[in-house]
C-alpha cells in the first residue's frame, strides 16, 4: 500500500517533536535538510504510556521525523487507545492523513503488551495493527519496531529504525569500534584499542563485523562476533591485510592483501581458510564490494592511470571500468537492490558522495561538503550514511539517495569515522 506516493502533499512547515533532552557523549543527530513533500501523520500518546518510566511514542515520532518523509501532526496530550476506532474525521481535520492508536497493558511479570493500529484518515480504513511485548527498559527497541511498521505501511518500503550502525570513535589516543542503534542511541563499545581500527563491515547476519585493526603495528583483518566479543584473525599475511567485505551468502569475504606485491583482491572463507586470488593487476586494486546478487565484485583501482571504479565477475574474469568522469572515484558501495552505486568522487578538489544509476550510468553528486568518505546504504536503500568533517572534527552524516534529506551525527569532543549501516535482522 503506497499512500505516500499517491497522496503526497506539500507542507511548508514541519511539526516537530517537542521534547528536548540532555546532551551526553552520544551521537546527536541534527537534521539539515528534509524532503520537499512530507506525509502528515499523527502519533498521539498511547493509552497508559504514562505508566512507563520512559516513553514510546516520542521515539516513534523522532524516528519518523528524522527520515525526512513525514511531518508529525501534534495531537496534544490526548491518548488514543487501540481498543476503539479514533475520531478519524477529527484527526483529518487537524491535517493528518494517518493516525496511530495504541495501548499498553501491564502484565503480571512486569512486562507490557503494546498494541497499536494504524488508520488512514482519508479512506477511513485501518491499515494494520501489531502487538509487541516488552520490558519497560525496552521502550526504544519497541518504538523502533513501531516506527518501522508505520514507515512500511505508509511508504511501501521496509523501515530501518530497528537497525544498528557501526562506526569508529577516536578520542585522544584511544580508538573505539562502537555499535549504536540507527538513531545513535545505546552506543556500546565492541573493541577499544590504542591503535587505529578501520573498515568495519557487517556480516549479512547482523551478528558479526569484519574490520581492520592495527593493534599488531600493521593492518590485520578480524571477524568479531558482537554478542560474545569473540575475535578471529582471518587475514594476517606478510604485508598489509585490509578492506574486508562480505559476500551476500555470509560465508566468504573479499579482502585486499599485499603478500604477492601491490594491493590485490583475494577471496577467503569467513574462518580465514580457502584463500584464492580474485584478480591480477600491475597497480592498486582495493575497496572490494560485492553486488547484492553475488555476481560482481566492484573495486577501486589505478590500473588505468587514475583511481577509478571497476567490476569483475565474482567467479573471475576480466574487469570492466565503471566510472569515467574525473580522476578520483573510489569506495564503491552497491545499493541493497543492486541498481545504484554510491562512491566518493573528487570534484574540484572536494571529496563528495556520488550515486550512479547502473542502468543509465547517470551520476549525481549528493553532498556539498568536501571531506566525505565511506558511504554506506541503509538496508532499504533510502539513506546513505557517510563520514564527513565539520569544524575540524570527524562527523557522520546521512543523505537520502535522492539528495533531499540531510542529517549530521556527531559525538561531542571526539572524531567519528568509518560508518557502516547494519542489515535488517528481523
Amino acid at each position: 500500500m503506497n499512500i505516500l506516493l499517491s497522496r503526497f502533499r506539500l507542507l511548508l512547515a514541519a511539526t516537530l517533536a517537542t521534547l528536548s533532552w540532555a546532551a551526553h557523549a552520544q551521537l546527536s543527530i541534527e537534521i539539515t535538510g528534509a524532503g520537499a513533500t512530507r506525509f502528515p501523520v499523527a502519533i498521539p500518546l498511547f493509552e497508559n504510556e504514562g505508566s512507563l518510566p520512559r516513553g514510546i511514542t516520542d521515539v516513534v515520532r523522532a524516528d519518523l521525523e528524522r527520515s525526512g518523509l513525514f511531518s508529525l501532526i501534534d495531537m496534544g496530550l490526548v491518548a488514543m487507545p487501540a481498543t476503539a476506532v479514533p475520531d478519524l474525521a477529527g484527526v483529518r481535520a487537524r491535517g493528518a492523513d494517518a493516525v496511530l492508536a495504541g495501548s499498553l497493558y501491564p502484565q503480571a511479570d512486569g512486562r507490557y503488551d503494546v498494541r497499536f493500529r494504524l488508520f488512514d484518515t482519508q479512506k477511513q480504513t485501518e491499515l494494520g495493527g501489531l502487538s509487541l511485548r516488552m520490558t519497560p527498559a525496552q521502550n526504544r527497541a519497541t518504538a523502533h519496531r513501531i516506527a518501522d511498521f508505520v514507515y512500511e505501511k505508509l511508504t511501501g518500503q521496509p523501515g530501518y529504525f530497528a537497525t544498528r550502525i557501526a562506526y569508529v570513535v577516536k578520542s585522544g589516543p584511544r580508538y573505539e569500534l562502537q555499535i549504536a542503534d540507527a538513531d545513535g542511541m545505546n552506543a556500546q563499545t565492541a573493541l577499544a584499542s590504542r591503535e587505529p581500527i578501520i573498515s568495519p563491515a557487517w556480516a549479512p547476519d547482523g551478528q558479526r563485523l569484519a574490520y581492520v585493526s592495527f593493534e599488531a603495528k600493521k593492518p590485520v583483518v578480524y571477524v568479531h562476533t558482537l554478542a560474545t566479543g569473540q575475535r578471529q584473525v582471518v587475514a594476517n599475511f606478510k604485508g598489509s591485510n585490509s578492506a574486508p567485505t562480505w559476500a551476500p551468502d555470509g560465508q566468504r569475504l573479499a579482502v585486499v592483501l599485499t603478500k604477492d606485491g601491490q594491493s590485490q583482491l583475494y577471496v577467503l572463507n569467513a574462518d580465514g581458510s580457502g584463500l584464492r586470488r580474485m584478480a591480477t593487476s600491475s597497480g592498486i586494486d582495493t575497496e572490494p564490494a560485492w553486488s547484492p546478487d553475488g555476481e560482481w565484485i566492484y573495486f577501486s583501482s589505478d590500473r588505468g592511470g587514475s583511481a577509478q571504479i571497476y567490476r569483475i565477475p565474482a567467479t573471475g574474469g576480466s574487469a570492466q571500468r565503471v566510472t569515467f568522469e574525473g580522476n578520483y572515484n573510489v569506495t564503491p558501495r552497491l545499493s541493497p537492490d543492486g541498481r545504484s552505486l554510491a562512491f566518493i568522487t573528487r570534484n574540484n578538489g572536494r571529496f563528495q558522495v556520488a550515486v550512479m544509476d547502473l542502468a543509465t550510468r547517470q551520476t549525481t553528486i549528493l553532498t556539498d561538503s568536501s571531506r566525505d568518505e565511506s558511504p554506506s546504504f541503509a538496508p532499504n536503500g533510502r539513506m546513505i550514511l557517510y563520514a564527513s568533517e565539520s569544524g575540524g572534527r570527524g562527523v557522520l552524516a546521512a543523505v537520502s539517495s535522492d539528495g533531499r534529506v540531510k542529517q549530521r551525527l556527531s559525538v561531542q569532543a571526539a572524531d567519528v569515522r568509518e560508518p557502516s549501516w547494519g542489515p535488517l535482522t528481523r
Binding site: A17, S20, W21, A22, H24, L27, S28, I29, E30, A62, R66, V85, G128, G129, L130, S131, L132, A137, Q138, A141, R145, D181, M185, Q188, T189, A190, L191, A192, S193, I198, S199, Q207, F214, E215, K217, K218, P219, H224, L226, A227, G229, K238, G239, S240, S242, A243, V256, T258, Q262, I284, T286, E287, S300, A307, T331, R346, E373, S374, R417, R426
Partner: protein
C-alpha cells in the same frame, strides 16, 4: 533546522523481547507478529605492544637512529637525499642478518582511508626494494602500510601533509 539531542539514559541490554500473537479487535485487520529486541554487545580491549630499543639504533648521533624516508605528493620514488639513510640501514641489515625490519608506509589524509592504505604500501615497498637492492634479505623485511591512520602531524595543511608522506623503518623489538 532542528536539533535532536539524544540521551544516554538507557543502556539496558536488549534481551529478546517476545511478541504476543493475539490481538483481537472487532473489525480489525490481521495482526502481524514480529519479535523485538537486539542482542547485546560485549566489550573487548585490544592488547598493545611494548617497544624496546637497541643502543646503536637509538643513539641520536648515529644515522641509524633516523628512520623516516619522505616522499613528494603523489610520489612513490625515493628521493636522492634519502640515499645515505637507506644505505646505512641496508648495511646494518647485512651485518646483522638476525635483525628484522618492519617498514610502515604512510600518506596524508586526503581521500579514502583504504585507498590511502594502498598508496602507503607503495611507499613502504619502495623503501623495501631499495634496501634489498643494497643487499638486505627479503626475509629480513616486511613492508606494510598505515595509510593515513598514524599521522606524525595532525593539522590539515601542506607542511603537515609533507611530514606524513613517509616510510618508517622499525627493527625487531620495536614493533
Amino acid at each position: 533546522m532542528k536539533k535532536f539531542v539524544l540521551p544516554a539514559l538507557l543502556v539496558a541490554l536488549l534481551a529478546g523481547c517476545s511478541s504476543t500473537g493475539t490481538f483481537d479487535q472487532a473489525g480489525g485487520t490481521a495482526v502481524e507478529d514480529r519479535s523485538t529486541g537486539a542482542p547485546g554487545v560485549a566489550t573487548v580491549t585490544a592488547p598493545s605492544m611494548a617497544g624496546s630499543g637497541i643502543a646503536a639504533l637509538t643513539d641520536p648521533n648515529n644515522i641509524l637512529s633516523k628512520r623516516s624516508v619522505f616522499f613528494d605528493f603523489d610520489q612513490f620514488v625515493i628521493k636522492p637525499e634519502a640515499r645515505p639513510l637507506i644505505e646505512a640501514h641496508a648495511r646494518f641489515l647485512v651485518q646483522n642478518p638476525q635483525m628484522k625490519m618492519l617498514i610502515q608506509g604512510n600518506t596524508d589524509e586526503l581521500g579514502s582511508r583504504e585507498y590511502n592504505l594502498a598508496l602507503g604500501q607503495k611507499r613502504a615497498d619502495a623503501v623495501r626494494q631499495a634496501l634489498t637492492l643494497l643487499g638486505a634479505k627479503e626475509s629480513q623485511i616486511e613492508s606494510v602500510s598505515l595509510g593515513e591512520e598514524k599521522p606524525r602531524c595532525g593539522e590539515s595543511n601542506e607542511s603537515c601533509f609533507a611530514q606524513n608522506r613517509r616510510g618508517d623503518m622499525l627493527y625487531s623489538g620495536e614493533f
